[in-house]
Amino acid sequence: MNTIRRSIISAAAFATILWLMEIPALAQAPAARAGAPRRMADGKPDFNGIWQALNTAAWDIQDHVGQLGVPPGQGVVEGNEIPYQAWALAKKKENFANRKTADQTEVNCFLPGVPRITYMPFPFKIAQTSKAIAFSYEFAHGLRIIQMEGNHPDPDSFPDTWMGDSRGHWEGETLVVDVRNFNDQTWFDQAGNFHSDALHVVERYTLTDPDHINYEATIEDPKVFTRPWKMSMPLYRRVEKNMELLEYECVFYLQEERYKNAPFKK
C-alpha cells in the first residue's frame, strides 16, 4: 500500500515538474520573452523602453553589397523597388554620386527626418502615458512628440519641419502615426533616396512580443513617386539593465573640428 502511494506521489510530482517546465519563466530557455506585451493602466500595449533597429537601412534601404565603411544588407523596402518618377530616378543617382557632400545628415549632423531617424544605428526611447507619447532619439537628441489629439497644421501657413508633424491614433493593438508637414531637406538613407515637401508617411508600430516591435512605414509623395511604397523591419528592445540614452552631439563635434583654428581670414 505504502509503495503504491509513494509511486503515485512520485508520478504526480514528476508530472508536475514536467508541467512547470512548460512555463517560460521557469524553463531553462533564455532569450526573448514569450507571451503578450505588457499593458498600460489604460489597457493599451506598453511601448515604454529603449529600442533600436538592427539592419543596414541607414546606409541603403535597398539590397546592397558591402564596401569599405558600408556593411552589406538586404533591403527593407517591400518588393525592393522604389517607384521613382523618371526625373526622380535620375535625381537619386545624382544624389548617390554626390553623397559625400550632399547628405546633410552625414555631412552636417542635421536631423534625418522620418523614417530615417528610426533606423539610424543609435537607440531611441519611447515614453508613453495615456495622455502623451514621445520618441527621443540618441542621434542628435532628436525628438518627436506624437500628438494624440488635434490635426496637422495648415501646410500653407505653418512652417515645414525636418521631422514632420506627427498625429497618432490606435487601431487595435497598433499605434498608427500619420506624419506630414515635412521640408524637402532630408534623405531616406546615405544612398541618396529622397523626397519632396509633399512627403506623407504613415508609421505602424505593433508589439509582436514584449521585446519586439514590427515597424512599417508607408511612403507617399506624388511629386517624386508613381505610387505609395512601404518599408518594414523589426525593432529590438535594448534589454540591458539600467539602459539609457546617452548623447551623440555630432553638431558640436563637427564644430570643434571645423572651427578649431577660427577665426579665418575673411
Partner: protein, 320 residues
C-alpha cells in the same frame, strides 16, 4: 501660568516679526497676503504608478540670467558688459535686496500664454542663497571668469562663443523650454521645445552612470517626497553654462533640484548649484514653472539646421 503667558507673547512676537518680514513692500506696492496654514493645499491626482501628476506643458522663468553680485564696470564695453548690472542694462536681473519680485505676466520670449492665475503668494525668484546675493566664487576663478567674458564680444575663438549660440545641448539652465512633463512608470520625462531635447529623471532607484560617461545634460535620478520632486544630477561634461554672466561651469558640477507643486498650474523650482572647482560652497537659485494654456503644442526647434552663427562670426571654415 505666567511662564506660559510670556512664552505665548514671545511666540506671537516671533510670528509677527516673521510675517512682517515676508510682507516687506516691493517697489512701493502694498504687501501681498501671506498664505495662512488654513489655505487649502492643492492635492494633485496620481499617475498609475503613484506619482503626483504634474503632466503638462510649462513655461519657466527666473533661473538663469544672473547678475546680482557686486557691481563692477569692466572696461570699454561699459553697459554692454554682463557684469555691469545697472537698471539700464538689459542683461541685469533683480537689483532688489529682498530677493522678492513681482511675478511677471509672461516671461518667455514670444510670450507663451500661461494658464490660470499666478500663485496667490509671491514666489522667490533668482538667487536665494547666499542671502547677501554675492556668489561664493573662488577668487581666482572669478578673475578667470571676468577675463573670459572680456574675450566673448567679439569671440576670440570657438571656445568663447556662448554654448547656446552653437546650438549645444543647453543643460539644466539655459533656454526656457517650454517644457512638457510626461510621467511614464518610474520616470519623469521632460521634453524641451528649445533645442528639442529630452531629460529623463529615473525614479527606479538606479545608480548614476559610471564616472567616465559625461553629458551636457548630466545624468538625473530622483524621488518624490510628498509633493516635491527631488532630482540629483551628476556626470556633467565641461561644456555647460549657467547664464551669460556665468559662461561656463566645470565637470565637477553636481545639482540638486526641488520641484514643488503649488497648485494645478504652478510649481516652485529651486536648484542647488554645487561646483567645487569654481565656488567655495554651493549656492541656490529659484524659478517658477507655470502651465501654458491648453491647446499649446511644442513646435520643432531646428537649431543647427538653420544656423549661420559660427560662419558669421569667424568666416567659412576651409573645406575638407
Amino acid at each position: 501660568m505666567s511662564r506660559r503667558f510670556s512664552s505665548a507673547i514671545m511666540a506671537v512676537a516671533v510670528l509677527t516679526t516673521v510675517s512682517l518680514g515676508l510682507l516687506m513692500p516691493v517697489n512701493g506696492q502694498t504687501p501681498a497676503k501671506v498664505a495662512t496654514p488654513a489655505a487649502t493645499p492643492w492635492t494633485p491626482p496620481r499617475t498609475p504608478d503613484g506619482q503626483p501628476d504634474i503632466q503638462g506643458i510649462y513655461a519657466r522663468g527666473g533661473v538663469g540670467g544672473l547678475a546680482v553680485e557686486a557691481r563692477e564696470s569692466n572696461g570699454p564695453h561699459g553697459a554692454e558688459n554682463p557684469l555691469d548690472a545697472t537698471a539700464s542694462n538689459p542683461l541685469s536681473v533683480s537689483d532688489r535686496p529682498d530677493g522678492l519680485r513681482n511675478i511677471p505676466k509672461g516671461f518667455n520670449v514670444g510670450g507663451t500664454p500661461v494658464a490660470g492665475p499666478a500663485p496667490a503668494e509671491k514666489r522667490r525668484l533668482g538667487l536665494i542663497d547666499p542671502s547677501n546675493k554675492v556668489l561664493p566664487w573662488k577668487p581666482e576663478e572669478d578673475r578667470n571668469r571676468r577675463d573670459f567674458l572680456k574675450r566673448t564680444n567679439p569671440a576670440a575663438s570657438l571656445r568663447y562663443v556662448e554654448y547656446d549660440a552653437r546650438c549645444a545641448l543647453p543643460g539644466l539652465f539655459l533656454g526656457n523650454g517650454p517644457f512638457e512633463f510626461i510621467q511614464p512608470p518610474q520616470e519623469v520625462v521632460v521634453l524641451s521645445e528649445y533645442s528639442h531635447f529630452t531629460r529623463v529623471i529615473h525614479l527606479d532607484g538606479r545608480p548614476h552612470l559610471g564616472s567616465n560617461i559625461r553629458l551636457f545634460n548630466g545624468d538625473s535620478v530622483g524621488h518624490w517626497e510628498g509633493n516635491t520632486l527631488i532630482v540629483d544630477t551628476t556626470n556633467f561634461n565641461e561644456f555647460t553654462a549657467f547664464s551669460r554672466e556665468i559662461p561656463y561651469l566645470s565637470d565637477a558640477l553636481h545639482t540638486i533640484e526641488r520641484l514643488t507643486i503649488i497648485d494645478q498650474n504652478n510649481m516652485d523650482y529651486e536648484v542647488t548649484v554645487d561646483d567645487p572647482k569654481l565656488f567655495t560652497k554651493p549656492w541656490k537659485t529659484a524659478g517658477l514653472y507655470r502651465k501654458v494654456k491648453k491647446g499649446y503644442e511644442i513646435m520643432e526647434y531646428a537649431c543647427a539646421e538653420g544656423s549661420l552663427t559660427l560662419e558669421n562670426i569667424f568666416g567659412k571654415p576651409p573645406s575638407r
